[in-house]
């Protein structure tokens, strides 16, 4: 039997790039699941939400109309919120890794599941800074929702540990970061610069820093930074830069599942997997397995998938996944990677490390 699953994904608009990344992971998950499961076959129906909330709702409703049993996908908390609202109304389970806003899980929906969260990124960043034993940091962050949340949380935690932190918010539209970095350089004089933004912001910040050369010991960022793409696109900017990373690069997988993931990814897209694909893969695998269990139990149409999802407890490529009763991943912890010689080494936590931390170390 073929079971339909919906993928509500931004394929156009501002989130098109990350959406495409997640979609690749979902497709890989389908391929892997259908090959390994044997009993059930999953078919994905994709709906573009155009990076817009109203369209996300419409996409979910369209998918429901097409007869999907659950939804995987979603990017941007502002799209995921309304979309998962709609899914909840329609009784469809919704699993995502695309939005870390707190309020998503505070709604207490029984149909909403998320495998990552701000706390996980925060733990990783603070953990890394702890290891470095720094006394002061400047946090440069975009005023967008996810980045601002994370930056403020990190600041609170660091301040509680006695680290002197200054915050610098910037509007997502700005391109020249020299005035900000110069302020950091001449006024804050921190040991570390923490960047919370997106790819284009990192390029701008790192360039400005490379020009102004503030006397810091490390440049630390979050998502979309310690990625193969950044390593290959901006080889001069990246050396020694830290960022959250699940995978070392070149990717090495120890587990059976990991290897299958990487092979399939290579086969389908002819490139090494990145974290977007990895999240998409993990969330989808968890969902597909829950669907299979529900189908076996005959509860596919009677809320069984959500119940099965809630029972998830499994080692995955991003670590152990278990959901709280609000649908948040209890164990989510990120790792920190560092660009080293065009490669990415995992340097935190120490038990997952694949390389030695190059500290102090900056791109210049």
């Amino acid at each position: 039997d073929e079971i339909l699953v919906g993928a509500e994904i931004p394929l156009t608009g501002s989130l098109a790039r990350v959406g495409a990344g997640m979609h690749e992971g979902i497709s890989v998950a389908v391929d892997v699941f259908n090959k390994t499961n044997g009993k059930h076959t999953i078919k994905i129906v994709t709906a573009d939400d155009e990076s817009a909330p109203a369209k996300a709702i419409a996409a979910v409703e369209k998918l429901a109309g097409d007869g999907v049993v659950a939804i995987t996908g979603g990017y941007g908390s502002n799209n995921i919120g309304p979309a998962s609202d709609a899914a909840n109304k329609l009784g469809l389970p919704y699993i995502t890794s695309g939005g870390v806003a707190e309020n998503l899980t505070e709604r207490g929906y029984k149909t909403f599941f998320r495998i990552n969260n701000t706390a996980g990124y925060q733990k990783a960043m603070v953990g890394l800074l702890d290891t470095m034993q720094i006394k002061s940091a400047s946090v440069v962050y975009s005023t967008k929702e996810a980045t601002a949340d994370l930056a403020k949380d990190v600041e609170k935690e660091l301040a509680a540990k006695g680290v002197a932190v200054t915050l610098h918010a910037f509007d997502p539209a700005i391109t020249d970061f020299k005035p900000i970095i110069n302020k950091v350089r001449l006024q804050d004089k921190p040991e570390v610069i923490v960047m919370v933004g997106y790819e284009n912001d990192y390029v701008g910040i790192l360039r400005a820093a490379k020009v102004l050369k503030p006397k810091v010991k490390a440049m630390v960022g979050v998502w979309s930074l310690a990625t193969p793409k950044m390593a290959s696109d901006f080889p001069d900017l990246m050396p020694s830069v830290y960022g959250t990373a699940l995978l070392p690069f070149p990717a090495e997988f120890q587990t059976e599942e990991g290897k299958r993931f990487a092979d399939t990814y290579m086969k389908l897209y002819n490139k090494a997997p990145d974290y977007l694909g990895q999240f998409g893969f993990v969330q989808s695998m968890i969902l597909f397995e829950a669907i299979a269990r529900a189908a076996d139990a005959g509860t596919l149409k009677s809320g069984g998938i959500a119940q099965e999802l809630a029972r998830t407890d499994r080692q995955t490529l991003i670590g152990r996944v278990q959901f709280s009763d609000k649908g948040d991943n209890l164990n989510f912890v990120h790792r920190m990677g560092q660009h080293q010689d065009g490669k990415i080494a995992i340097v935190w936590p120490s038990d997952a490390a694949t390389g030695k931390m190059n500290f102090p170390g900056v791109p210049w």
């Binding site: 573009d48 909330p53 409703e61 502002n78 309304p82 329609l90 929702e145």
Partner: protein, 317 residues
Amino acid sequence: MKMSKTGLAVIFAAYVLVPLLLGSNSYVMSLIVAAMIIGGIALAWALLGNLGGMVSFGHSAFFGVGAYVSAILTMKAGVPVLAAMLLGGAGAVAASLAMLPVLRLKGPYFALAILAYAHIFKILATEWSSVTGGSAGLASVPRFPTLMGVDLSSKTGSYLIVLSLLLVFIAAYRLIRSSHYGIALRAMHDSEDATRVVGVNSTLLKALMLFVSAFMTGVIGAFNVHYINFLEPDYAFSGLWVTLPIVAAIFGGYRTILGPLVGAVTVYLVDQLVFKNLIPSGHQLVLGALLVAMIIFSPGGLMPLLRKGSRRKHAAA
């Protein structure tokens, strides 16, 4: 006001037949509601453009302010949703008070000055986080209530609300346009001095049109927030709330009253149902091409084109 038989039939169909036939398909209903939201803004935009002679690129300012005012009033002051929606419109009017100085400006200057306001409001909504929830926005904004046994928060209920709003807007627009104020407004377009020396208080008239347009857009913004139950600055002040309505209004014919609505429904539905399936990741390209073709081949929009077509058919028959 006179109402033609076809007009009444269309209204009847909209109120009765659409919910009966399509009400169960929530995807189609949500597309229709979304199209009507765009149509509502398009109507308000076209009113300002047609009567006031002012092209605005910043209607998202009114949309966003209306949404925020209504959301905050319901969430923090417990104002009932339907009342708050009207207050949202009033909030947009209040915001437009800040824009009165730009009324002196003309053409593109005006258009872009309004856009600047939209940007500023967005930044304010982001920074004033104690009230607006900052960039995280407001989640779980109250839904529409159940009135006389009708659950207004359902797809069909929301549809009925937005439909009624649009009908009221259309009636208001017609009233204004056919009044002497309507002619005076048209007169002002290229000839402000000439209009003023015969006794027309042009600044006041323009301001009034700005208020009416802002009010309509604000109410639609408020409707949308209670419909989506969610709000954040990027979304509330998104450029999409300007560009789509403009496309729709132009497509339908912005100098007519029904044009913007017809345009919105056509453009939105065709885009979502047809183009999106043809070119999943670049379907707006077709939209752009359509817009260009429309401007060149039928600058008056779809409505005149349809009318011409039907006349030809009549002639043939």
